[in-house]
């Protein structure tokens, strides 16, 4: 870990717990439903929602220079943790404290108004991603990002006509324009074609290096090894291990019997 432990943390999570209410829609025959209704009418007509304990007692500190990879199988709470840090979820218990600007991206194939062109959507998206920059700076970064996409004349066609790959090119190019204090990237490379992925990886890694601290969620061990200097393994809503990316990836592969990649 390359943490500078004597400085003020960029992120401090203390005893974080998140619960979600879950709806179950079991398939039952009319006869079974009738029996349920007769046996327990109150429960049948107003079923009590089950609580799912998504994140359990999470404690985490990130310092300037920390590039944290989050590893875990689907449904373990990686995205929920990131959304909580980004301020999208309110903790049911515990606290999440951040200092500085937090920028989080969870999906790269998304347009704000599909009727507008890719160029117009890029300017609009830049408003959401970079709200505090000047008009001149905005023009510069958007035009630079648009050049980087290599989408050419397609930039002036409606966004709704874009393929997923084109949408990803546009969003990723824009997202990787400016560094920030805490950057959260959740499986952002999904959807880009392999040629563009190589090109954008370099740009994203460059921005990761310039940012204060980074949280990087990926199922690809190579990307975690390349981008991160620290990693955590999340298992069943808890931080199971916190260490170097190599150690965490090895543990993850052993835990889930994943064959190591060459």
């Amino acid at each position: 870990m390359n943490s500078i432990s004597d400085s003020k943390p960029i992120l401090e999570i203390t005893d974080l717990n998140i619960f979600f209410e879950l709806d179950y829609h079991y398939i039952a025959s009319v006869r079974e439903k009738f029996i349920q209704a007769v046996q327990n009418p109150l429960e049948f007509f107003s079923p009590s929602a089950d609580k799912l304990h998504v994140l359990k007692d999470i404690n985490l500190k990130l310092y300037h220079g920390d590039r944290l990879g989050i590893i875990g199988v689907n449904g373990t709470g990686k995205t929920t943790l990131c959304r909580c840090i980004a301020g999208m979820y309110v903790p049911d218990k515990g606290t999440v404290r951040t200092s500085g600007e937090v920028r989080a991206i969870f999906d790269t194939a998304v347009g704000i108004l599909p009727e507008l062109t890719g160029r117009e959507n890029a300017f609009l998206l830049s408003r959401f991603l970079y709200p505090n920059i000047s008009k001149a700076e905005r023009n510069d970064i958007v035009n630079d990002a648009l050049d980087f996409t290599e989408l050419g004349h397609f930039l002036d066609t409606p966004y709704r006509t874009y393929s997923k790959g084109m949408q990803t090119r546009l969003s990723l190019s824009l997202i990787s324009s400016l560094p920030t204090d805490l950057l959260i990237l959740d499986e952002v490379f999904d959807g880009a074609d392999q040629f563009f992925q190589k090109k954008i990886s370099k740009r994203v890694l460059d921005m990761i290096n310039k940012s204060g601290s980074v949280i990087f969620v990926s199922h690809g061990p190579e990307q975690i090894l390349q981008a991160c200097n620290r990693a955590i393994l999340i298992n069943n809503g808890r931080i199971a291990f916190d260490g170097s990316p190599e150690e965490v990836i090895k543990l993850y592969q052993n835990l889930h019997h994943v064959r190591p990649t060459a």
């Binding site: 998140i18 979600f20 209410e21 959304r83 980004a86 301020g87 999208m88 979820y89 309110v90 049911d92 937090v102 920028r103 989080a104 991206i105 969870f106 999906d107 790269t108 194939a109 998304v110 704000i112 108004l113 009727e115 507008l116 117009e120 609009l124 408003r127 959401f128 991603l129 709200p131 505090n132």
Partner: protein, 252 residues
């Protein structure tokens, strides 16, 4: 707060651009809908059903155009959150911005349509200009109140996907029991008190009071009712928001 306001205005501007792209008539649609509705209802109620209300065109215009705004806004904003799942889950964006920008978009269209339609009516009936300026007050309350109502309905739609059907049904029926083309005095006294709880009507009543036979006492009373209605709607939206904020992302 300021950042959210700026984002709302930018999104409203983009929405206005997107709304009329790929349409032949473009901005003409803004006034075409209320003009056709007004023309049809004026003929049906004044000339066919022979409703006798003094200065009927002015009365109908000052009630019908804001009614169209309120109903269109509710119908358009209710499915917004449920339909914006990918955007809301992709990055941090205050969901209220999406609702507020839709309300602002419709408000601008409403004000444009009303202004254009009001000119010939003003020439016919000539309500004094200073009372017209007062309409800013009910308009402001209407903006806050309807945005809050839309927030609550849009949140409900995320959890109960049939909300939109119910809203469309209720708004369709409500037109016939709301004093838009008839006056509250035409309704039996034992039912007239219900209008005090008809929240969209409270805004329309206060707005219409600025244009139709202005009376200070009536206007202040109508504005007071609007104010109370707005407080109720804001508190209700705030409660719904805090209760459902986390679950919202899960259900989108």
């Amino acid at each position: 707060m300021f950042r959210d306001l700026t984002t709302t205005l930018v999104l409203t501007q983009a929405q206005l651009k997107a709304r009329y792209r790929n349409t032949v008539a473009g901005i003409v649609w803004v006034i075409l809908n209320p003009v056709i509705m007004f023309g049809a209802q004026a003929i049906a109620f004044k000339h066919i059903l022979k409703i006798t209300i003094e200065d009927y065109y002015l009365y109908l215009l000052a009630g019908l155009v804001p009614w169209i705004f309120v109903i269109m806004t509710i119908q358009m904003a209710t499915p917004i959150l449920a339909g914006s799942g990918p955007i809301l889950k992709a990055f941090k964006l205050n969901p209220i911005i999406l609702i507020f920008s839709q309300v602002l978009d419709n408000l601008l269209n409403f004000m444009l349509a009303f202004s254009i339609m009001f000119i010939p009516i003003q020439m016919m009936y000539g309500p004094p200009a200073w009372t017209i300026i007062l309409c800013i007050l009910p308009l402001f309350l209407m903006l806050i109140g309807i945005s809050s109502l839309c927030t609550s309905l849009s949140l409900t739609q995320v959890f109960y996907r049939d909300t939109n059907y119910v809203v469309n049904f209720i708004t369709g029926v409500m037109f016939f029991v709301t004093p838009i083309f008839f006056t509250p005095e035409m309704v039996a006294t034992k039912y007239a008190w219900l209008f005090n709880f008809h929240l969209p009507y409270l805004y329309i009543d206060a707005f219409r009071a600025c244009f139709y036979h202005f009376d200070w006492n009536y206007f202040i009373l109508a504005l007071g009712k609007c104010f109370l209605g707005t407080i109720f709607l804001v508190l209700n939206a705030k409660w719904s928001w805090h209760r459902n904020k986390n679950e919202l992302y899960l259900r989108l």
